[in-house]
């Protein structure tokens, strides 16, 4: 009898080995362990045995039953797992296909750079102010110490709207507009559009400037250098060399032009910097007392500095763009690079 049991077990295990479908495994379970299964049959006939024999066979029978049940369960699990894995593999996608992206546009590069400039000065404690694009001759020139019939008017080719109105040629009028309304301390940047009658690879009839000015008691040329060097280092990198060169703007004195080490060749000399290793980046100076006189500031008490920079110029340097007109073509193939 025990041999039979062991044979049944072996047979069942042998059969189980070849099964790889869940249904077959369940059928096998029924065949051996079911109500009419061969093991059940043995169990059911236990009563007919002698008590000693019954106990021995009974124990073995139970052991075989537990072992078979476990083997069947494990075989079923294996098949289930294989089935699950197969199903997962069936879901395979070609992950090399491009993704389905939510649409993403771009800010215009000029505005992107404009925002960067604003951010730097906001962190330095400046406040943003705007002025009109159509300006009076007074604010654009006269109050900035550029009287009529002064050769300095030739420095900026002006679009006229009428005898007294021009398209502002720079953002500097915001200085005077501010001084008329506020007393020092003043720490302002004025970004905006400006226009000049000029159009070629490096000149656009309309472009963007950021004007900045700071007025208080005891503001010095050294302070001007401090703020502008901080700006250039934040904009172009801490290691960029900066130099100040005497220049002339009627509304500042002393006036300077600021050069930074060429960011293309790092000062070695290239086509962009015309082999000089330097790039002109902005104009600045101590606000001319003549401007303060126009707004009745006490020129003995207050000093201040002002600076102005072309946003397109900075964007061109930053992204190595060689033609200013690209900014206003608004070609998507250009815009989506930034």
């Amino acid at each position: 009898m025990t041999d039979d049991l062991l044979q049944i077990k072996q047979k069942a295990l042998d059969e189980l080995k070849d099964l790889n479908k869940l249904d077959d495994i369940y059928n096998l379970k029924v065949k051996y362990l079911g109500k009419k299964g061969s093991l059940t049959f043995v169990l059911r006939n236990l009563g007919k045995m002698l008590p000693d024999k019954r106990r021995e066979v009974g124990m073995l029978c139970n052991k075989v039953k537990v072992e078979l049940a476990a083997a069947i369960e494990s075989a079923a699990d294996k098949v289930k797992l294989a089935e699950k894995n197969r199903k997962l593999l069936e879901e395979k996608v070609d992950t090399s296909l491009p993704g389905r992206r939510p649409a993403l546009g771009r800010l215009h590069p000029v505005n992107k750079v404009n925002e960067e400039i604003k951010d730097i000065f906001l962190r330095l404690g400046f406040v943003i102010q705007e002025g009109p694009e159509i300006e009076t001759d007074y604010y654009n020139f006269e109050a900035l110490n550029i009287p009529k019939d002064h050769p300095a008017r030739d420095m900026q080719d002006t679009f006229y709207i009428s005898k007294d109105h021009v398209l502002r040629t720079h953002t500097s009028p915001v200085q005077v507009l501010t001084f008329e309304k506020q007393s020092p301390p003043i720490k302002i940047i004025a970004p905006g559009r400006v226009s000049r009658c000029d159009s070629d690879v490096t000149h656009s009839p309309m472009f963007h400037q950021v004007e900045g000015f700071l007025v208080d008691t005891d503001v010095t040329f050294g302070d001007l250098k401090g703020i502008l060097i901080a700006f250039i280092h934040q904009m172009f990198g801490e290691k960029i060399a900066v130099r100040f060169r005497p220049s002339y703007f009627p509304f500042t004195e002393p006036s300077a032009e600021v050069d930074m080490q060429c960011v293309i060749c790092m000062g070695k000399g290239c086509r962009v910097c015309k082999k000089s290793g330097w790039l002109e980046i902005l104009g600045c100076g101590m606000i001319n007392p003549a401007v303060f006189e126009h707004v009745k500031y006490d020129t003995e008490k207050y000093t201040g500095f002002a600076f102005g920079m072309g946003v397109e110029r900075i964007a061109m340097l930053k992204y190595q763009i060689n033609d200013i007109r690209l900014f206003y073509d608004n070609d998507i193939r250009f815009l989506n690079q930034f």
Binding site: G105, G125, R193, D216, T220, E253, P254, F327, Y328, L335
Partner: protein, 724 residues
């Protein structure tokens, strides 16, 4: 302002490398824009004498020149015809690398070896055109490098001069600056003018009727000049700075102008009627023909130089045709004057006639060298022609130039610059500038300003000179000590930042278009408002002739341009100003926020449905914009009023009962005008109103306790009833 290094060296004893000098001048405020070596490409070219010319055996148009450089003879094949035996010409030898890129090496030409090339002025980069090879003067030494013969071992400097530095519109002015920077000594210009016994007083009578416009008028009379080619040095120097040589007399007036900065004019003395020069104002509407053969209309502000009967020059700007020096001229009246800068500027500006002369007068010439320049020019003319110089200068000088003193306070200098210069430091710097100190105390210094520095008037001007001489880069870097302030970004700034980032994150590209546009754009997009347009008086072209009143035309133009590059799926926007006149002519600048969409909704992709945008895409964006900036009480009412929108697919945007914009499909007729055959949708906000509109304050609301219940209700209504 251009000059060559060798020319400059006549006036200052300087010998540092040209690039070093260039750097020094740049850092002193005289920005050198270009520095060019004039002998570039002229190595290995020397003078040779043609010994013999034979015909080329195999080519009719070529000849074989036997030439000598004094040491050896060479055979050169040449295509030119203008030379003859005995001529001295320029030979480019093996190794020469000409300015036009030609590299010279022995070459077989039609079977004959040519050991170099005889050069034309074009090939040497000296002229744009040439009628053959360059023939040098007969007395030229043979075997000498052409660089030396032509004086081209020299550098051309070009200064981008700022308008304040009129003193540097002259070689001696630049020499002064170089002396200040390097410590080099200035050289004096030595010249002799032998005056004859005849006095100038009997030859010319000068009177000035408008002394405020002509402060001084001086003249000399020269008899027996001959008009010919200029002295080679004068000619080559003028050539080098780009001034065309005309004849010895005109060239000398130009040359002296560049040396001293004093413009001069030479009249044909015999054409001056009545031996009289009268300086007076022009009369309105008068006509005058200038040297360039153009008839000019005059106004009362112009300075006229007249003889007894008629005008002979437009004072300070340009001479007249009627008194021009010609080949037959025998006697010369040489003018050197001081004209009022503003008067000259007005005339030159009005007539669009900016000459080297007006350029200097309007910036102010040196009153101290008016007659020095006159004498120098007369002496050069005498040297050139052997003419007689009548004794004395005819000089009428109604308005004397007063010298100016400026007081500068030591403490103020340091206060503005942030330096701690001692009084002695400052006095030293003033010394380097060659400013005379008239008086000094512990607190201040009184400086006499040289008369050539018209730009120095106030204390701050002296401070700038001190800073410039001290060196901007020697001033210590500091940070301003200014109280911290706390200020918010304006509502407009904040709103702009929000909507821009919203649109960019929803696939929109930001564009920037010009603030001006074409008149036809207004006709289409501005309707009746066109009467309130603002024109530009001097536009570059018609496309930029009037200030824009809407951002849409340029956006549609942008769409069109991109479609030309096969980019048909576009979402674009711009925030910018539009311009309009008010009832009484006042100018309004309004910020507008305008967007446009066309083409596919989603990126054209292997799996996306190719759905094309429609009205509800643009409306959805508008709703998103409004909600992102927390506008709650918005609504859409009726069809749009703008004629450029589709009458049935458009609506107006309201916030709290106020119209803030419109959305809709662009009218097919409009698009047809642009050659666009696809549907395009746009929104257009009055951005200022959008920013000013009331925003919802965000307050947390409790979450509902129960899940929501969905009910589907269908109601049948007439087709004409709107959804809301």
């Amino acid at each position: 302002m251009k000059f060559t290094y060798n020319w400059l060296k006549e006036y200052v004893d300087v010998d540092i490398p040209a690039d070093e000098l260039s750097e020094m001048l740049t850092m002193a405020g005289l920005e050198i824009e270009t520095l060019t070596y004039l002998g570039a490409g002229l190595d290995n070219i020397c003078s040779v004498k043609i010994l013999d010319i034979e015909k080329h055996p195999n080519a009719d148009k070529l000849s074989i020149c036997k030439v000598t450089d004094g040491e050896s003879e060479h055979e050169i094949v040449c295509g030119a015809k203008n030379m003859k035996g005995g001529d001295i010409v320029a030979l480019a030898k093996k190794g020469a690398n000409l300015p036009n890129g030609i590299k010279i090496k022995p070459t077989k030409i039609r079977g004959v070896v040519s050991n170099g090339m005889l050069c034309s002025e074009t090939e040497l980069g000296l002229a744009d055109e040439a009628g053959g090879i360059m023939i040098l003067a007969q007395d030229t030494t043979i075997g000498k490098p052409v660089i030396d013969i032509l004086g081209l071992d020299d550098y051309l400097f070009e200064i981008g001069l700022t308008p304040n530095r009129s003193d540097c519109l002259s070689l001696i002015g630049i020499a002064r600056e170089v002396a200040m920077l390097t410590g080099a000594k200035l050289k004096t210009i030595d010249f002799v003018a032998d005056e004859s016994s005849e006095s100038v007083s009997g030859a010319i009578d000068i009177s000035i009727q408008n002394a405020s416009a002509c402060n001084r008028y001086t003249a000399r009379v020269l008899r027996g000049v001959s008009i010919k080619e200029s002295d080679p040095i004068i000619k080559s120097r003028l050539n080098a700075i780009g001034v065309r040589s005309i004849n010895n007399i005109v060239d000398i007036t130009n040359y002296v102008m560049f040396v001293y900065g004093q413009p001069m004019h030479a009249f044909d003395y015999d054409k001056i009627m009545g031996k009289k020069i009268i300086v007076r104002n022009a009369s309105d509407g008068g006509k005058f023909t200038t040297l360039d053969e153009k008839e000019r209309e005059l106004t009362a502000g112009d300075i006229m130089i007249c003889d007894e009967k008629r005008a002979v020059a437009l004072g300070g700007v340009m001479g007249g045709m009627n008194s021009e020096v010609s080949d037959d001229t025998k006697d010369i009246l040489l003018e050197s004057a001081y004209f009022d800068p503003v008067t000259i500027r007005r005339t030159a500006k009005r007539l669009g006639l900016a000459s080297e002369s007006s350029h200097r007068f309007e910036r102010g010439v040196n009153p101290q060298t008016v007659t020095v320049a006159l004498d120098y020019a007369a002496s050069l003319m005498q040297k050139s022609t052997g003419c007689k110089i009548l004794s004395g200068i005819a000089d009428v000088w109604p308005v004397k130039y007063e010298s100016r003193d400026i007081k500068a306070r030591f403490a103020r200098i340091n206060k503005v610059l942030g330096t701690d210069l001692t009084n002695d430091d400052i006095l030293n710097l003033l010394g380097r500038l060659m400013f005379e100190v008239k008086q000094k105390s512990d607190e201040h210094v009184l400086v006499e300003i040289p008369q050539y520095r018209h730009d120095l008037v106030k204390e701050i001007d002296i401070i700038e000179e001190i800073a410039r001489t001290y060196g901007y880069n020697n001033i210590k870097v500091t940070m301003p000590k200014i109280p911290a302030v706390s200020e918010k970004r304006s509502e407009k700034e904040v709103t702009a930042a929000k909507v821009r980032s919203l649109l960019v994150n929803n696939g929109f590209y930001e564009v920037i278009n010009y603030s001006f546009c074409a008149h036809k754009d207004l006709e289409i997009f501005s309707g009746d408002l066109i009467d309130r347009r603002i024109g530009v008086l001097n536009p570059i072209n018609e496309e930029q002739s009037v200030m824009r009143m809407s951002l849409l035309p340029a956006l549609i133009e942008t769409v069109k341009k991109n479609m030309n590059h096969k980019n048909n799926d576009l979402k674009l926007f711009e925030i910018g100003r539009s311009f309009m006149k008010g009832d009484s002519g006042e100018i309004f600048e309004t910020n507008r926020f305008t967007g446009i969409i066309t083409g596919l909704c989603y990126e054209d992709n292997w799996s996306n449905a190719k759905k094309v945008v429609d009205f509800f895409d643009i409306k959805g964006i508008v709703e998103l914009i409004l909600e992102s900036i927390k506008v709650i009480r918005y609504s859409f009412k009726g069809g749009a009023s703008s004629k450029y929108l589709h009458p049935a697919v458009s609506t107006q945007i309201y916030i709290a009962g106020e119209k803030v914009g419109e959305i809709g499909e662009l009218h097919p007729d409009i698009l047809e005008g642009y050659g666009i055959d696809k549907k395009v949708y746009a929104f257009d906000f009055d951005f200022d109103r959008l920013c000013a509109s009331q925003k919802e304050r965000v307050v947390f609301r409790q979450l509902p306790k129960y899940p929501y219940v969905k009910r589907d209700i269908a109601i049948v209504v007439d087709k004409g009833i709107a959804c809301d």
